[in-house]
């Protein structure tokens, strides 16, 4: 069993090169590579009509509904995170409730508001009540502000995880840019943060450092936009002597409540 906990899909309106063609390319490449389950999301319109990490209400809703169709068409293979912009308050909570009712199994947050904002509180209480994990987009170490987004870094997520010890968080794409050593150190002592190993980076020493400082019980296999680096990372983990079964599936099964058959 190989569970990809960070998959992306693209709704009909999106701003990605090759657009919707990527959906089929991803599904087909994932199957060929032996991925047995995908937990994915649609990040609004991917920049077409609102920012990828700050989706408008309309893009948030239409993206989530597109994902429901992908889940339906790939039942048992694709599972979903509801992509939520907390700035929409009650409407955001209603959207989360709707998505969970339709069978989604997690919540994904981007960079609409910094994760230290109290706007997240009602959403997190709902996730705790429904016992689902939260995947949070993270720039591992923020050294300044970026226009149009409120990026959170690993230290911000650690503060949030301490404030909500009953919630379960996934720190997105350790290999997705930014100082991964900072990211791993920030999460090391926070037991309710799991580390998503996805991302296009393939720095030598990353997996050894993750194993040393976080341990293999909180590491998760994920692809994000690059299947090649994700699969290569499994090979590097083998070289480092890691328990591959835990990282490729057992940890995700535990985190998501044994949903994957």
């Amino acid at each position: 069993m190989l569970i990809d906990i960070h998959g992306n899909f693209y709704a009909s309106r999106n701003n990605m090169p090759r657009g919707q063609g990527l959906n089929q390319a991803y599904l087909s490449a994932a199957r060929k590579a032996g991925i047995t389950h995908i937990v994915g999301m649609v990040m609004g319109s991917w920049g077409y009509s609102s920012h990828t990490y700050v989706p408008s209400l309309e893009d948030m809703r239409s993206g989530n509904r597109f994902l429901l169709r992908v889940i339906e068409e790939n039942r048992g293979f694709v599972f979903g995170y509801a992509y939520i912009n907390p700035a929409y308050g009650d409407k955001a909570l209603k959207e989360l409730e709707f998505c969970l009712k339709q069978g989604m199994i997690g919540m994904k947050l981007g960079a609409s508001v910094r994760c230290t904002s109290s706007l997240l509180d009602p959403l997190l209480r709902k996730c705790i009540e429904r016992d689902i994990p939260v995947l949070h987009h993270i720039f591992q170490r923020r050294t300044g502000e970026y226009p149009d987004v409120a990026l959170s870094d690993a230290a911000d997520l650690a503060k949030l995880a301490k404030r909500f010890p009953e919630a379960r968080f996934i720190q997105a794409h350790i290999a997705g840019g930014g100082d991964w050593q900072f990211g791993l150190r920030a999460a090391a002592d926070i037991p309710n943060i799991w580390l998503d190993l996805s991302g296009s980076g393939s720095d030598e020493g990353m997996v050894e450092f993750a194993l040393k400082i976080v341990g293999e019980d909180r590491l998760l296999f994920g692809t994000d936009l690059t299947l090649d680096t994700a699969l290569a990372r499994l090979e590097t983990l083998k070289r480092a002597g890691a328990n591959i079964k835990k990282i490729s599936s057992a940890n995700a099964q535990k985190l998501f409540g044994d949903r994957f058959k």
Partner: protein, 261 residues
């Protein structure tokens, strides 16, 4: 047969690398299926006198010349660089690696042109690195000058016969250079695959389709990146087997005629 065009041996000052000596690098590369590698000194990037790095490299590779061929680092803005260049020829280097972004000179400066003309005469390609580490994770003191693709384009156009290998480049830089050059000049610029995204975004396949298979060589960017990443990328690609052989071993012989294996 896989020949790796892009290997760095030594210390990187901004993070600890898990293996830094030639024996360890050889072991990791060989375990990934790499049969031979063109290696440069990592330390030399930051040495004022780069020749100290070259001499350490030559000594370290002396027991491993069946596996490694050195690439010398030359800083043409430094006194007596011509002697370093002469020694590179004596040491049977296959290429000259230059770091103008780190060493305060420009490709089109008179010293840069002098070195490139010497390389052209001696059929030694120059190797340029678009970025050593992902710019999103750099240490505050790791401040190379911006990549100057326009200068490189002009250098190639104005130095007939000079061959250039650009390593660790992302798709947009490969296309920028590969497509901007007139067809005749394009034959003299090569790219390694270490910076390109693989399946399912397929940057590697798309760049090859647009720039031409003859211009690509295998490169891992080890020991800063894992060799598994480049190997997996190639394995997942839709490139035909014959074309994979060109990338892995045939094209580099055109690029580096002094490489004797």
């Amino acid at each position: 047969m896989i020949i790796d065009s892009n290997v760095l041996i030594g210390n990187w000052p901004f993070r600890k690398l898990p293996y830094t000596d030639a024996s360890q690098v050889r072991q990791v590369l060989a375990a990934s299926g790499i049969n031979h590698a063109v290696a440069v000194s990592t330390d030399a990037i930051f040495f004022r006198n780069v020749q100290d790095g070259n001499e350490t490299l030559y000594k370290a590779l002396a027991q491993h010349r069946d596996f490694f061929t050195p690439a010398a680092t030359i800083n043409p803005s430094y006194a007596r660089w011509e002697k370093d260049y002469e020694q590179a020829l004596q040491e049977k280097c296959a290429a000259i690696r230059i770091w103008p972004e780190y060493q305060g000179w420009g490709l089109l400066d008179s010293c840069g042109l002098e070195l490139c003309n010497a390389c052209k005469e001696d059929r030694l390609p120059i190797i340029l690195t678009t970025e050593v580490e992902d710019s999103r994770q750099r240490h505050p003191l790791d401040k190379p000058e911006d990549w100057k693709g326009g200068d490189l384009k002009r250098l190639i156009e104005e130095t007939a016969g000079l061959k250039v290998l650009v390593v660790n480049a992302r798709a947009e830089k490969v296309k920028e250079l590969g497509l901007a050059l007139p067809e005749e000049d394009r034959k003299r610029i090569f790219f390694d695959i270490s910076g390109l995204w693989g399946a399912f975004v397929d940057d590697l396949d798309l760049c090859i389709e647009q720039v031409g298979i003859s211009q690509f060589v295998f490169g891992s960017h080890a020991a800063l990146k894992t060799p598994e990443a480049a190997i997996t990328k190639l394995n997942l690609s839709k490139i035909k087997e014959l074309d994979k052989r060109k990338i892995c071993a045939l094209n580099i012989r055109q690029l580096m005629p002094r490489l004797k294996i």
